[in-house]
């Protein structure tokens, strides 16, 4: 550091950004990493230079057909990530070829002299904030990278998403490794949204990195870039599900509500008085019923606060029907509840065996009946085939209405079902891009890649 000179009070000279010239084309080369970079690529003549060499020896000259590859974040831009300033110092484009189609993505090298290197990747508007793993992940179901069905890293399991051959086709700026165009690596991604664990395997080494999904907007804010980030296309491998509530959580909330409803149901059932207020069995004969068949019952008292009244009808029907017109009438106020109930029961045998339809019982609940003296007016109508029949009428005061709990439960089921459906749709489109596409539903365009 302080070569040959005593350390004066000012301390050693501060390392500075170096401005050099490309030995090939003479364009300005800026070295921003204070000697940490291995290689630097000239932006003008596509020469890859040895950044460790004071003369910037040319290591590789590459060609690229298109000239419009440009980093979305220009080299030299500084941004804040996790509270630390990072400068963009390098940029490369890589691609993977799947079924003959190249899928390019971009990687940015970030640098801070105290914190070291960090990376950003961008594919179709999807970004990842990447660091090299310090703890080595372990792969399940395989020895080396590229063959596992899952990987474990700091206590979390990552599912294998895909393994591809990455090919570097464009580089710009500084790299902390000996970057070359044409360099190939087997890249295996394991996902646990919003994180992705990747292994890059060359014939020399395996490097593991961990990435966390970032939205274009976050990148634009961090680096104070003008305009808007490119729109993200489709669902990316480690893109977090847009559902604000997680699926498991909402089902747990549903379960909690269901338990609460059940407790309420039991509570109200226990509290309900279920007081028998009236019971009578009648015998109807067609011969005795001339014209007017209606009659009224004796008075009975409905006590307490306004509450339910349950009316149960039973009729000895067999392959017959009976219809009862009821009116529950308050003797003092004349207020009446009119309603009709049908009781019918049919049974028989056919080629499928015995069958039956309907019931001899019928139950109806009248809500919010005030206390007072009441009577029933009953008008039976009977199947013309029947000449005589027995039926009974039974009234119970203050029964719990359990049906509403069922309705409430069904209503509560709607949000978790919708969330689950959306979650399923999202995960389906995520995994459709992987090495493990979901099985296609018949009727949809079938193109499973596992077949070949």
């Amino acid at each position: 550091m302080s070569a040959g000179k005593p350390p004066l009070s000012g301390g050693p000279p501060r390392p500075q950004v170096k401005a050099l010239q490309c030995p090939k084309c003479g364009a300005a080369i800026v070295l921003r990493t204070f000697g940490q970079a291995e290689t630097v690529a000239c932006g003008s003549c596509r020469a890859i230079l040895d950044a460790k060499d004071p003369n910037l020896a040319i290591l590789q000259q590459f060609e690229i057909e298109t000239s419009d590859i440009r980093p979305l974040i220009p080299l030299g831009t500084r941004g804040k990530l996790h509270g630390t300033d990072y400068e963009v110092i390098g940029f490369e484009r890589r691609h993977a070829t799947v079924e003959g189609i190249p899928y390019p993505w971009h990687e940015y090298v970030l640098f801070n002299p105290y914190k070291g290197f960090r990376y950003l990747s961008e594919y179709n508007g999807h970004w990842n904030d990447i660091t090299i793993c310090k703890d080595l992940p372990s792969v399940e179901g395989g020895f080396s990278a590229g063959s596992g069905s899952a990987a474990n890293w700091v206590g979390e399991t990552y599912k294998h998403f895909q393994t591809t051959e990455a090919n570097t086709d464009f580089v710009l700026g500084e790299f902390p490794w000996r970057v070359r165009v044409g360099e190939r690596a087997t890249v295996t991604d394991y996902v646990h949204p919003p994180r992705v664990l990747s292994s890059e395997k060359t014939d020399k080494e395996v490097t593991w990195s961990i990435g966390e999904y970032m939205y274009g907007r976050e990148i634009w804010d961090a680096f104070r870039l003008p305009g808007s980030p490119p729109e993200a296309e489709g669902v990316y491998e480690n893109q977090p599900s847009p559902l604000t509530t997680n699926v498991q959580g909402i089902w747990m909330a549903f379960a909690a509500f269901a338990v609460f409803l059940l407790a309420m149901m039991i509570g109200f059932d226990l509290l309900a008085k279920k007081e028998a207020v009236f019971q009578q069995t009648y015998h109807w004969e067609r011969a005795k019923t001339a014209g007017e068949s209606s009659f009224v019952t004796d008075n009975f008292e409905l006590k307490g606060h306004p509450s339910t009244v349950e009316l149960k009808t039973w009729a000895a029907v067999s392959n017959q029907w009976m219809y009862l017109n009821y009116a529950l009438i308050n003797q003092d106020t004349g207020q009446a509840w009119d309603f009709g109930r049908e009781v019918s029961y049919y049974q028989g045998y056919d080629s499928d065996g015995s069958w039956s339809e309907g019931s001899r019982d019928d139950t109806v609940v009248i809500p919010s009946v005030p206390p007072g003296q009441y009577y029933l007016r009953i008008e039976p109508e009977v199947d013309p085939a029947v000449s005589a029949i027995s039926y009974s009428v039974q009234l119970t005061r203050d029964v719990p209405v359990l049906g509403i709990y069922g309705i409430a439960l069904l209503a509560l089921l709607v949000p978790p079902l919708l969330v689950s459906l959306r979650w399923y749709t999202f995960e389906r489109s995520r995994w459709s891009e992987s090495d493990h596409p979901p099985v296609q539903i018949s009727g949809l365009t079938a193109s499973s890649e596992d077949d070949d």
Binding site: R14, N112, Y114
Partner: protein, 210 residues
């Protein structure tokens, strides 16, 4: 602790030891490598200028590791095919000697281990497993390195080196081990990877523009 002081036998500059157990130091003025003998300092060589590096750490950088403060008193610089790395010799506030490895802004703190029966370098391959102090370690990389230079105080004599082999091993949850084959008898260092932030370093180097 009184800091032992002496004069450089080469240039006469005042030499102050920050760590009383230091065996070797480098005169900051004339770059002579000085080794302590019973009576005085003996010049054993001269350090070539170290290549410029981008390390944020320098001699007298202070930090904290496991609630103990430490100060950087020396270093050994090595080169390998991915660049250079530094083994910073640090003195813990309890007098212990430790190493802060720095390679491409990755940091690890390790301590010398007296474990006997260490394997010979030729017998170790990537993937081999060893258990030391109840921890299991897997050989992750074998690095042929080149000794580049020294600076400051070291706990042993270290100056006439050339090619040395290092074997790095990784354990679980950031544990790591290094087998150092600088000497005929291998040396083992056990430690862990640390985050730059967690070291709470002070008196760091300044970089222009940062």
């Amino acid at each position: 602790m009184t800091q032992p002081a002496a004069n450089c036998p080469n240039c006469g500059a005042r030499i102050v030891f920050k760590w009383s157990s230091s065996v070797q130091t480098v005169c900051e003025y004339c770059k002579s490598i000085l080794v302590r003998t019973d009576a005085d300092l003996k010049k054993v060589g001269r350090v070539a200028d170290l290549p410029p590096d981008g390390s944020p750490i320098q001699l007298s950088t202070e930090g904290i590791y496991r609630n103990k403060s430490f100060v950087v008193v020396g270093r050994i610089v090595y080169e390998y095919d991915q660049g250079a790395w530094s083994e910073w010799h640090v003195m813990m506030n309890d007098g212990a000697s430790a190493w802060l490895s720095e390679a491409q802004q990755e940091y690890a703190v390790s301590f010398s281990s007296t474990t006997p029966n260490l394997p010979a370098a030729a017998k170790v391959e990537i993937g081999h497993e060893f258990t030391w102090n109840g921890q299991r370690y897997t050989v992750s990389v074998i690095t042929p390195a080149h000794y580049r230079g020294v600076q400051g105080e070291l706990p042993f004599q270290y100056w006439d080196k050339s090619d040395v082999t290092f074997i790095d091993l990784r354990g679980e949850t950031g544990r790591f081990a290094t087998l150092d084959y600088s000497d005929p008898e291998p040396a083992l260092y056990l430690g862990e990877f640390v985050e730059f932030e967690d070291l709470k370093l002070k008196n760091l180097r300044r970089f222009e523009g940062w």
